[in-house]
């Protein structure tokens, strides 16, 4: 069976699963989120079929003010960051500095299955929110707290943001350039927030499972520093096992001992990633074939290079041949022809390349969302695909207080 046939057989033309099959269908979530970690957790709950209600201050949550903005016009209804992380949610305004606002929140919580909250202990106290008291009043409620350092401990009230969390966690020091006169460079996109959101969702799912059995909710305490601190890959085991400290290198694994460059510039100015694992026989054979195809293999196809020791000795020459060859080709040529030869190689796509990617298109990955007043916007859908469960596609984000009357 060819891979294409196999793929077809795995995706029989079945009727789309009913909305009632979504994992969280029928569940209500209240989200009091000051940043992306909480908003992403709520967004995934939307994908899983929950009704998610955001509680916003009168001026709107911070992401309404962070942008990027449509046409660069700063306006709380034009923030693309807000649109992205809040698609399909409801918005209710409650000023927690007032008794009215607190009553509003309490009414929402009385009906909720889960409460996502990102206030630090001092912020909770300032608005009179005692999570243990809320839990006691609502025994079935699952409270998901997400804070930079957790709700307990000496740093519990320390302030952070993506960059600061990344620094404290041990993740930031692993990334940047070979030249250590340049500071470590934070990988982009707000990833410490996304890591906290992944673990918040995991914890919420575990709590929902347990509630199905016991009927009782719980208080979950997620620390962003820890979520990133357990996501440093080899940095921890190198410390655990050999007391080694990995050193950052340009666009490749930080390592206690230096390794060869892994990104190569192509003729069109774009880059490809290829880690030169010389012991990998298939990679080597594919690479030599590719270099020979374009006349850059020089002596690399000779019998001498069949031995690992010789390859290691001649590493400089090998890197030079790759640089010359890739430098003469378009990055997508290197990517697709390399992959066809079984080489694990990747083109460094820019966001604008992704919308045109034939593979993502074929899998219907992007969805069109109608944002009232602004028209249709294409955006990524949820990355989960279930043969027999409904996943809710992202909808438009709400206007500030759009659902004040509805709840």
């Amino acid at each position: 069976m060819s891979p294409a046939d196999a793929a077809d057989q795995r995706h029989p033309a079945a009727a789309a699963p009913e909305p009632s099959t979504a994992p969280y269908s029928g569940l209500r979530v209240v989200e009091l989120a000051t940043g992306v970690a909480g908003e992403m957790t709520g967004l995934q709950a939307v994908h899983f079929g929950a009704e998610v209600t955001k509680v916003e201050p009168p001026e709107g949550v911070p992401s309404r003010h962070h942008g990027p903005f449509v046409d660069d016009i700063a306006d709380p209804e034009r923030s693309l960051g807000y649109w992205y992380y809040n698609g399909g949610k409801r918005s209710v305004v409650a000023d927690l500095a007032t008794a009215d606002g607190r009553r509003r929140l309490a009414e929402l919580l009385a009906d909720a299955d889960a409460f996502i909250v990102t206030l630090r202990p001092a912020e909770l106290a300032a608005v009179g929110l005692d999570l243990d008291a809320v839990a006691a009043a609502h025994p079935r409620l699952i409270i998901v707290s997400i804070t930079p350092f957790g709700l307990t401990g000496p740093w519990a009230d320390y302030l952070a943001c993506d960059l600061v969390t990344m620094a404290a966690s041990g993740l930031l020091i692993t990334s940047g350039y070979d030249d250590h006169a340049i500071p470590p460079i934070a990988p982009g996109g707000g990833q410490t927030e996304h890591l906290a959101a992944s673990f918040a969702q995991t914890a919420l799912l575990l709590a929902l499972h347990q509630r199905e059995v016991t009927g009782a909710g719980t208080v979950i305490d997620v620390s962003s520093q820890e979520a990133s601190g357990v996501t440093v890959e080899l940095a921890n085991p190198y410390w655990f096992y050999v007391n080694g400290i990995v050193q950052r290198q340009t666009c490749r694994h930080a390592s206690p001992v230096p390794s060869e460059p892994s990104i190569f510039r192509c003729a069109d100015g774009r880059w490809v990633f290829l880690a030169l694992v010389l012991a990998d026989g298939r990679l080597w054979a594919g690479l030599v074939t590719l270099l020979e195809r374009y006349g850059y293999a020089d002596d690399l196809g000779t019998a001498e290079y069949a031995g690992l020791a010789h390859r290691q000795q001649r590493i400089g020459h090998i890197v030079d041949r790759i640089e010359q060859c890739f430098g003469s080709l378009a990055a997508t040529t290197v990517y697709h022809e390399g992959q066809a030869l079984g080489i694990p190689i990747g083109v460094l796509n820019a966001p604008e390349d992704l919308y045109a990617d034939e593979h993502l298109r074929e899998r219907d990955y992007f969805v069109a969302t109608d944002q009232p007043g602004f028209g249709t916007v294409e955006r990524p859908a949820a990355a989960y695909r279930f043969s027999h469960l409904h996943v809710v596609p992202p909808g438009p984000s709400p206007r500030l207080g759009e659902h004040d009357q509805a709840v």
């Binding site: 340049i182 719980t218 620390s223 400290i245 460094l348 966001p351 916007v377 989960y384």
Partner: protein, 410 residues
């Protein structure tokens, strides 16, 4: 769980369920040993690059395998033999979940198509984890973390303007895709519990990666923004919101740094106070957020000139006490040995291992009042639990087990 997952993504994904009490039966191949068993990271041994494998590695000594496979059972099964495949089907029949992260086609070669698996066990969750997903023109492309990071855009968006991307110093997407897969497994099991529906799961790491740069994609789609100009990416600075300072500054010592951010005028004033109110901070080009953003190069240089004589932790605590977002740029030694917050939270813990001895593990980054992980063992030796699983799960008798062991099937 019948768990064919190997390497990083799959092993990390199923580890989460093992931590919380699932009986995860990891199936391994004695001929084609998991690549993390071959990573030469041995307790007490010298520093070696993780990519240079031993010719004849001790498959029970690797710290990377131990780290990813705690709390699981391990059996070695010869899937090339009919008897081995038959045993696998019996395991699948008795499981709630079947997981794998091989290249597309491997499970099919063993007859474990989605249709066949559902015949064997109509109630099972069959989760397939891959780089590109199980359909589409690139479904057979080979990948691991850095390739996924490249293709999904995560590498391109990271670095200083006007030079090569700095990307990631780790396989971020081996971890983050693993977390997506843990979530997908738990969601599928929840739907089965709540709605009585069993499902197959297909998670593509590349698609998870693209989901993680959403606002940038929206900016490109809606505003026609280019990310290929001379002013992108922006290093440690921040465009949404546009604020300054937002950077990493040198401290006393070799390769010592501190991250400092001021989101508003109050935080800026507190930062100035923490630095001893240097006269330059009063200059009009630093008076407002937009002025500080416009003069970021001068601002960063002026800040670096002050921070470079400070101890990174001493300055972090001084600034935090004044209400400034600041943190020492910590490494694994700091986080494991000196960070009082991580120590208080007890995220790291130790377990004994029959070959390695006592070793440290990175735990679960959350706590819950009503449940906790059960860290009952370190990673299994290769094939360690074959007899136990054959007896307790497959209910084979001792003669049959001896025969299978002698034939090399188990």
């Amino acid at each position: 769980m019948t768990d064919f997952c190997w390497a990083g993504v799959g092993a990390i994904a199923t580890r989460l369920l093992a931590d919380f009490g699932a009986e995860v039966i990891r199936i391994e191949d004695r001929e084609r040993v998991c690549m993390t068993r071959r990573v030469p990271l041995y307790k007490g041994a010298g520093l070696r690059p993780h990519t240079v494998e031993d010719i004849d590695p001790d498959v029970n000594r690797s710290g990377v395998f131990n780290n990813y496979n705690r709390n699981k059972l391990g059996i070695a099964l010869d899937m090339r033999s009919a008897r081995g495949r038959e045993l696998a089907e019996r395991l699948i029949a008795r499981s709630d979940v079947l997981t794998e992260n091989f290249a597309p086609g491997v499970m099919e070669r063993w007859g474990l198509t989605n249709e066949r698996v559902r015949e064997i066990n109509p109630a099972i969750i069959y989760a397939r984890m891959s780089g590109f997903g199980h359909s589409g023109p690139h479904a057979t492309y080979k990948s691991y973390g850095p390739v996924v990071q490249a293709v999904s855009g995560l590498s391109h968006i990271s670095g200083l303007p006007g030079r090569e991307p700095s990307g990631w110093g780790l396989s971020y997407m081996d971890n983050q895709a693993a977390y997506y897969n843990s979530v997908a497994l738990l969601a599928a099991l929840l739907a089965r519990r709540r709605h009585g529906v069993a499902t197959d799961v297909d998670v593509s790491a590349v698609e998870a990666g693209v989901e993680l740069i959403g606002p940038l994609l929206m900016d490109v789609a809606v505003n026609g923004r280019s990310t290929r100009g001379a002013d992108f990416p922006i290093g440690n600075r921040c465009a949404a919101p546009a604020v300054a300072p937002h950077g990493v500054y040198p401290c006393a010592g070799t390769d010592r740094w501190i991250a400092i951010v001021a989101f508003d005028d109050d935080e800026w004033a507190a930062l100035c106070r923490g630095l001893g109110d240097p006269p330059w901070a009063q200059r009009p080009e630093f008076a407002t957020i937009s002025a500080r953003v416009a003069h970021q190069d001068e601002l960063d240089a002026a800040l670096a000139a002050v921070t470079c004589s400070h101890d990174r932790h001493e300055l972090m605590h001084r600034l935090q006490a004044l209400g400034v977002r600041a943190a020492a740029v910590q490494d694994a030694r700091d986080v494991n040995e000196h960070d009082p917050q991580m120590a208080h939270r007890q995220v790291f813990f130790e377990l004994d291992h029959p070959v390695i001895g006592e070793a440290r593990f990175e735990g679960v980054p959350f706590t819950a009042d009503a449940f906790a992980p059960d860290h009952w063992r370190s990673a299994p030796l290769l094939g360690e639990d074959g007899r136990h699983v054959a007896r307790a799960v497959l209910e084979l008798d001792e003669d049959e087990i001896d025969e299978l062991a002698a034939e090399g099937v188990l």
